[in-house]
C-alpha cells in the first residue's frame, strides 16, 4: 500500500510538472516562432522598424511606429476612462449600495464581461460612432477645438471612439476584481475606523483602498492586458490608417488591428515578415508591462508595509 501511494504521488507530481512545463514551452515556442518569422524584416530594417512611420506595401517599406503609437494611445484612453469609473462602481457596490442593488448591478457587470468583442465592435460602429459624430465630437470641438487634441472633422470613428469602446470592454473586468478585493477587507478593521470617528470617505480612502491596493493594481493590469491586444472591436472603429495624428478625432491603427486587416493578403515575404514582427513587438510590449507591474507591485508592497 505504502509503495503504491508513493507511486501515485510521484506520478501526480510528474504530471503536474509536465503540465506546468507546457506553459513555459508554449510561451518560449511562440516567442521563437515569432522571432524566426520576423527574420527577413529584422535583417532588412533593423531598429528602424520601430521608429519609422511609413508603412508602404508598394515600395516594401515597413515601419511600426504608427501601430505602436495607436496601441499605446487607445489603451491609454481606455485606462484613463475605465480605471476611475471601475473603482467608483466597485466602491459603490461594496460600501454604499443596498445588497439587493449590489447583486443586480454586479450580475449585469459580469454579463458585460461575457459579451464577445465583435459585438462591441459592431455596436461601436453602428451606434456609438454616429452618436460621437453627431453630438459628442461637435460638442467637444466647440469648447476645446483650439487644442490640437480635438481638431479635424467629427467623423465618429478614430482614436477616441476606439478608446471609449476599449474602456467599456475592460470596465467589467476591473470592476468585478476590485469589488472582490474590497469585499475581502475585514469588517473588523473598517468598524474600528468608524469607531474612531472616521467618516465614510475617510474609511474608504484610508482603510478600504489602502488595504486593497495590491488587488486594485492587479485588476488594472488585467484590464490593460485585455485592452492592449484587443483586435476585432478596435478594427471596427479605429479608422485603420497608418498615420500618427495629434488629434484624438483622427483615424489611426493599432498593432492588433493591422494584423487583422493585412495578414490575409500579404503575399510578399518581407510584408508577411513585417507583420509577424509587429506581432513580436506586441508580445514584447505585453511582456514588459507585466514585468513593470511586478516590479511596481513589489515596491508598493514594501512601501505600504503590506505583508500579504
Amino acid at each position: 500500500m505504502g509503495s503504491y501511494r508513493g507511486v501515485q504521488d510521484r506520478t501526480f507530481a510528474g504530471l503536474a510538472t509536465l503540465s506546468a512545463g507546457t506553459v513555459i514551452l508554449l510561451v518560449v515556442g511562440i516567442f521563437v516562432a515569432l522571432l524566426a518569422g520576423s527574420g527577413p524584416s529584422i535583417r532588412e530594417f533593423g531598429a528602424r522598424f520601430l521608429f519609422a512611420q511609413e508603412w508602404n506595401p508598394v515600395s516594401q517599406q515597413f515601419g511600426a511606429l504608427s501601430s505602436i503609437y495607436g496601441t499605446l494611445l487607445s489603451t491609454g484612453i481606455a485606462m484613463v476612462i475605465a480605471v476611475p469609473l471601475s473603482l467608483i462602481i466597485a466602491l459603490f457596490l461594496v460600501e454604499l449600495a443596498h445588497p439587493a442593488v449590489s447583486r443586480v448591478v454586479g450580475g449585469a457587470i459580469e454579463l458585460l464581461a461575457a459579451i464577445p468583442s465583435i459585438i462591441y465592435g459592431m455596436w461601436g460602429l453602428f451606434v456609438l460612432a454616429p452618436v460621437m459624430a453627431r453630438y459628442v465630437q461637435p460638442f467637444i470641438g466647440k469648447w476645446a477645438g483650439d487644442l490640437p487634441l480635438f481638431t479635424g472633422p467629427p467623423i465618429g470613428i478614430g482614436m477616441l471612439t476606439a478608446g471609449i469602446i476599449l474602456a467599456l470592454m475592460i470596465l467589467p473586468f476591473i470592476t468585478s476584481v476590485t469589488r472582490d478585493v474590497f469585499n475581502m477587507v475585514p469588517d473588523v478593521v473598517k468598524e474600528s475606523a468608524y469607531g474612531l470617528g472616521a467618516t465614510t470617505w475617510e474609511v474608504t480612502r484610508q482603510v478600504t483602498v489602502r488595504h486593497g491596493i495590491m488587488g486594485i493594481v492587479g485588476a488594472c493590469f488585467l484590464g490593460l492586458g485585455r485592452a492592449i491586444g484587443e483586435t476585432m472591436a478596435v478594427t471596427f472603429v479605429i479608422g485603420n490608417t497608418h498615420r500618427i495624428s495629434p488629434s484624438l478625432f483622427a483615424a489611426g491603427n493599432s498593432i492588433a488591428s493591422t494584423l487583422a486587416n493585412e495578414f490575409t493578403e500579404a503575399a510578399e515575404n518581407l510584408y508577411l515578415s513585417s507583420l509577424i514582427e509587429l506581432g513580436l513587438v506586441l508580445f514584447l510590449i505585453t511582456f514588459l508591462i507585466q514585468l513593470a507591474a511586478r516590479i511596481w507591485l513589489q515596491r508598493t508592497r514594501r512601501k505600504l508595509g503590506v505583508t500579504r
Binding site: 453602428f126 459624430a133 467623423i155 479608422g239 492588433a256 488591428s257 487583422a260
Partner: protein, 348 residues
C-alpha cells in the same frame, strides 16, 4: 496577443484540413483565394454539386493566401483578383485565366444628391484620393456639376483597410490616370493611403460611407447596389461620362485584348470604348501546370467549363459579368496546350 495566437492556430488548422485527403468515394475539389468572386463561386459550386455530384470547396481566404496555397500545392486551384505577371507564373509553374468580371464603383454620401448625379473626372478622383481636394464645393467639382448644390463640407476619403483585390483594381486605375498617384502611391492590394479612413471589407467601406456625411469610398458593384449607395458618373477614356452597370462592365471586358497577352495578363481598367466603365476588373484562377492526379484535374476543369457555359445566369443574378464564349474557347485551348498530368493531356 491572444488574437494572434488564435489566428495562427486557425491558420494551422485550416492548412491541415485543406491538406487532408477527402473521402475516397466522393471527390472534393479544393480551392482558395480571392473574396471578391466568392459569392458567385459558392453559388456555382453549390449548383454544380447538385447537378454533377462533385463537391467544390472554395475558401475565400484572400488572394494572397490563394497564391501561397496554390504555390505550396495544398489546394487544387487558387484564385486571385490581380493577375500574376507571366514571369511569376513561369517561375512557380502555374497558369492563370480569367473566370469572372466585375466592376468597382466610387460611392459618395452627400445629402440631397440624386443617385448617380455627381460627375467626376479621373483627375478629380485621383486628387480627392490624394488628399489634394478636401471640400465638396471645390471649384473643380462645382465646375463639372453646375446643376448640383455643393457645400463646403469636408471630403472624407474611405478606403479598404484590409488587403484586397478591389483595392488593387481601384489603385491600378488611379495609377493609370494620374502620374502623381503613380509617383506617390502606386498599385497594390494594400497601399500607403495619403488620406482618409479604412473600413474592413466591402461591407466595412459601405458602412463608413453610409454613416459619415461627406464620405467618398469605393466598393465592388454588388455592394453598392445592395446597400443603395450613391454611385458617381465617371469620365472614361473615350471622354464620355458613364454610370456603372453590367452593360458598361461588359463593354470594357469586350474591348480588352486577351489574344495577344501572355498568360492572360490583362487589366481591364481604363479600357477604350464609348460605353466602357473605366474601373472594371477580372478575377483569375490559378492552376499548377503539372497536376499529379488526372482524375481530379479533369473533374476540376469540367467544373470550370460548366461554370463558363451554364453558370451565366447565376453570375448575372449576382451582378457579375460572365466571360464571353469566344474567350472561353481560347482559355480551353490553353488548357489543352499547357496542362499535363502524369505525362498526358488533361483537357479535353
Amino acid at each position: 496577443m491572444k488574437r494572434l495566437l488564435l489566428n495562427i492556430f486557425f491558420a494551422i488548422a485550416l492548412t491541415a484540413s485543406l491538406a487532408t485527403p477527402s473521402f475516397a468515394a466522393r471527390i472534393t475539389i479544393i480551392g482558395a483565394g480571392a473574396s471578391f468572386p466568392f459569392p458567385v463561386y459558392a453559388q456555382w459550386a453549390n449548383k454544380y454539386g447538385k447537378v454533377q455530384g462533385v463537391r467544390i470547396n472554395y475558401q475565400s481566404i484572400g488572394s494572397g493566401g490563394g497564391i501561397r496555397q496554390i504555390k505550396a500545392k495544398t489546394v487544387d486551384f487558387g484564385a486571385s483578383d490581380a493577375p500574376l505577371k507571366p514571369a511569376d507564373l513561369d517561375e512557380a509553374g502555374l497558369i492563370q485565366f480569367p473566370m469572372i468580371v466585375g466592376g468597382v464603383v466610387p460611392v459618395v454620401n452627400i445629402r440631397g444628391l440624386e443617385p448617380g448625379a455627381l460627375r467626376l473626372t479621373p483627375e478629380l478622383l485621383a486628387e480627392i484620393f490624394l488628399g489634394k481636394i478636401t471640400i465638396w464645393n471645390d471649384p473643380a467639382i462645382v465646375g463639372l456639376n453646375p446643376g448640383i448644390k455643393l457645400t463646403d463640407q469636408p471630403i472624407i476619403v474611405v478606403h479598404r483597410s484590409d488587403g484586397s483585390g478591389t483595392t488593387w483594381i481601384f489603385t491600378n486605375y488611379l495609377d493609370k490616370v494620374s502620374s502623381e498617384w503613380h509617383k506617390q502611391v502606386g498599385t497594390a492590394k494594400a497601399v500607403n493611403w495619403p488620406t482618409g479612413v479604412g473600413g474592413k471589407g466591402n461591407e466595412g467601406v459601405a458602412a463608413y460611407v453610409t454613416q459619415v456625411p461627406g464620405a467618398i469610398g469605393y466598393v465592388e458593384y454588388a455592394y453598392a447596389l445592395q446597400n443603395r449607395l450613391n454611385h458617381v458618373q465617371l469620365k472614361n477614356k473615350a471622354g464620355r461620362f458613364v454610370s456603372p452597370s453590367s452593360t458598361t462592365f461588359q463593354t470594357a471586358a469586350a474591348k480588352a485584348d486577351w489574344k495577344s497577352s501572355v498568360g492572360y495578363y490583362v487589366v481591364l481598367t481604363d479600357q477604350p470604348g464609348e460605353n466602357s466603365w473605366p474601373i472594371t476588373g477580372a478575377s483569375f484562377i490559378l492552376l499548377q501546370r503539372n497536376m499529379p492526379d488526372t482524375e481530379r484535374a479533369r473533374k476540376m476543369l469540367a467544373f470550370f467549363d460548366w461554370s463558363y457555359r451554364h453558370g451565366k445566369d447565376i453570375a448575372e443574378r449576382l451582378d457579375y459579368i460572365p466571360i464571353p464564349d469566344s474567350l472561353v474557347d481560347m482559355i480551353e485551348k490553353t488548357w489543352s496546350e499547357t496542362l499535363r498530368s502524369q505525362g498526358g493531356v488533361v483537357w479535353p
